[in-house]
């Protein structure tokens, strides 16, 4: 492998910075309060949870498969993955550090929990409500996210504009009726992957594992063995999906597990925009998330996949928080197809994630737009792979990393130009912004080029949020945190523009909240 882009490592100097007690700590406390709330006597009887036997074994997998009433071929598929996984070793090349994971300590299947977590909104800790308010999430929605008794029903009646798909999360009735009907009319299949296995086995069988094979990597193999649920989307030939699809509303009906599996197929000339995630500070007891997302774009099809991730990053000492080990890959299988990843990553304790594109079809296009924010003791190792196989394939990478607190933020990317990929083009821009003097930003771009006629551009910058800029903004009347938010928003503008409108507004607020207390 030759490494044309070179490898730069930017380590920052170590000046003393005091980290203010901010909302992050509050959120963490609130999350803790929720945990204990959950186990307090008054509510435990209302929670119906069904677990698989603890730990991982062939029996666990059989249990999961049986619970889901899966066909024999899928059980065999899972078992094959499990046997392979046993022979594999956990990767260690990413620039992240964490305690070894004991895979026998997890439950690999937990049935959806039901029952209210709070009797009324008055029982919800004040700090949590404040956080929601800062994120601009209306109280009604907050109630549903927090699981307040009866909230789903009132929220459903309170919302009467079901045209915007994002709104539909709180409206399980209309998801089941209006949206499904409308999507069905267009021929779009949008359901949980478990349902799809039953209702559209031929499609699932054809595409499952065709982009991220079972053998792909340690976490993807684990996912293949134990995936709990996820989303399936199929957009038929020539159909432009009439609305933006979102995990928001499906998740409300069915709690997806820690091993999600998403499969999106866009047939010839079809288009879909898919939004994943939730900007609310969702409570999540699961430590380990090893999801797999597969996208398939056939001839002239286009898939736009947007993620906003805000999972629990752990407390200020780096305890707790989510390990997010995700394999996301899109296959531009047909000529002139296009896959575009946009991600805003602000949560998780450890992130290991590289949404990638295989540019197989001639003239296909892959895009990756990313904002990765780390604060506190978070660690993120994220980036993309653009694999150019077809002729005149084009890719574009815009990565904006923001590090604050004592966090570490690494961009790791691969641009690979195959022998057949004549006149392939790539543009890569990696910008890092440092807030304070105890964080790190690292850029690790790999380039493999087998073509003399390839056109590759790489730009990388590392800047520090400057005292000059902060003072200038404050002299004009902006508060310190408002000034930071404004400067950061300026820094990430090119990526925010790629997000669907409502998502962009929420992402902007999320940035503000996740960077609170980062200067001081």
């Amino acid at each position: 492998m030759d490494c044309c882009g070179g490898t730069d490592e930017h380590e920052d100097d170590c000046t003393e910075v005091t980290v203010k007690e901010g909302i992050d700590a509050k959120t963490v406390e609130a999350a803790k309060a929720l945990e204990s709330e959950n186990y307090s006597a008054g509510f435990s009887t209302e929670i119906e949870t069904e677990y698989s036997p603890k730990g991982l074994s062939e029996d666990t997998i059989r249990f999961i498969s049986a619970k889901k009433e899966e066909p024999e071929w899928l059980l065999e598929w899972r078992l094959a993955a499990y046997r392979r996984w046993l022979t594999m070793e956990e990767p260690t090349w990413a620039k992240v550090r964490y305690e070894p994971i004991d895979y026998q300590e997890y439950y690999y299947y937990a049935a959806p929990k039901s029952g209210a977590k709070y009797e009324s909104i008055d029982d919800v800790p004040k700090e949590i409500l404040e956080t929601y308010e800062k994120l601009g999430i209306p109280l009604r929605e907050a109630e549903v996210l927090l699981g307040v008794k009866g909230a789903a029903e009132t929220a459903a009646t309170a919302r009467e504009a079901p045209r915007v798909a994002v709104d539909a999360v709180f409206d399980s009735v209309s998801v089941a009726t209006t949206f499904r009907k409308e999507l069905e009319k267009a021929g779009v299949i949008f359901m949980s992957i478990s349902e799809a296995v039953r209702e559209h086995p031929e499609l699932v069988k054809k595409y499952l594992g065709s982009v991220v094979p079972q053998s792909d990597n340690y976490f993807a193999t684990l996912n293949s063995a134990v995936f709990s649920d996820g989303t399936f989307v199929y957009v038929p030939k020539g159909v432009r999906c009439p609305m933006e699809l979102s995990t928001y509303f499906r998740m409300n009906a069915e709690n997806t597990g820690q091993f999600e599996r998403t499969l999106i197929v866009c047939d010839e000339g079809a288009y879909v925009s898919y939004l994943e995630g939730c900007t609310a500070p969702m409570r999540d007891e699961n430590q380990l998330h090893a999801a797999v997302v597969e996208l398939v774009a056939l001839d002239d099809a286009e898939i736009k996949y947007s993620t906003v991730q805000n999972w629990w990053p752990g407390d200020e000492n780096g305890k707790g928080g989510i390990y997010n080990f995700v394999t996301k890959r899109g296959d531009c299988r047909g000529p002139r197809s296009k896959i575009s990843w946009t991600q805003v990553e602000t949560g998780s304790a450890v992130t290991w994630k590289y949404p990638s594109c295989i540019l197989r079809g001639d003239d296909s296009v892959g895009e990756f737009y990313s904002i990765a924010v780390t604060n506190g003791r978070q660690q993120a190792d994220t980036g993309t792979k653009m694999i150019h196989l077809g002729k005149r394939t084009k890719s574009r990478i815009i990565s904006k990393g923001i590090s604050a607190g004592k966090s570490d933020n690494t961009y790791r990317g691969l641009v690979s130009i195959n022998k057949r990929a004549e006149k392939a083009r790539n543009f890569t821009q990696c910008d890092s912004l440092l807030i304070g003097g105890r964080c790190g930003a690292h850029t690790v771009p790999y380039v493999e080029n087998r073509r003399a006629d390839a056109q590759l551009e790489h730009e990388a910058t590392t800047t520090k949020l400057s005292e000059d800029q902060l003072f200038y903004a404050r002299q004009r009347g902006l508060g310190e945190e408002q000034a930071v938010a404004l400067l950061v928003n300026g820094f990430v503008r090119e990526v925010l523009q790629e997000l669907p409108m409502e998502f962009a507004v929420e992402a902007q607020k999320l940035l503000e909240v996740s960077l609170e207390g980062s200067v001081g």
């Binding site: 005292e467 009347g477 902006l478 508060g479 400067l487």
Partner: protein, 253 residues
Amino acid sequence: MLKIENLTATVGEAEEAKQIINGLTLEVPAGEVHAIMGPNGAGKSTLSYVLTGRSGYEVTGGSATLNGEDILEMEPEERAAKGMFLSFQYPVEIPGVPVMTFVRTAMNSQRKLRGEEEISAPDFIKKSREIAKQLKLDAEMLKRPVNVGFSGGEKKRLEIYQMMMLEPSFLILDETDSGLDIDALKTVAEGVNAMRSPDRGMLVITHYQRLLDYIKPDKVHVLSAGRIIKTGGPDLALRLEAEGYEGVLGEAV
């Protein structure tokens, strides 16, 4: 209006701190324009940063009040909301943030701190348009990120634009003439003069007399080694120009 008494201030951290302002006393009544002149290193820019609350500048003694209120304990944004405005010698670039967004955010933030209503979008745009016209600023420029790719003259004009938009009660102009050609200087001076009013004070920091041909001061102070060592009328600036600082300072010692 602005009253500074026996002010002392240091620059830098802890042991490295250097005393730059050494017992400075100055009063600028409402409605007056005072010029501060002085050689390099006299403490001119330091004074402007101390008055506006920049971190790294520590007040070690004395006082500074605006309309009787102690400003030295306030955060920079609180001082801004009270009406302090500094036109920077070197305006800062803010990539990705359009001028209009920046100024509107600043204006509303100030209004919020004062407990006032936010300005409506149409009102803001109308005001912006009028001021841009007055300063011969291209409307397109106001959609671009703050100061990014602006010429020296454009940056200074943008400072004046912000000043006129925010309508502060006390203005500090730090070397506003540097980097300006004569036409730009005239435009900027017109903007500043339009801001003169009986309830507004101004402190014009400059190296050269040139700016004072266009912005006529009521008083001229000479700053040297962190203290005002001489005060006079507009003719003092002319004398400094003719005799140089050494001539005038020599006489004062």
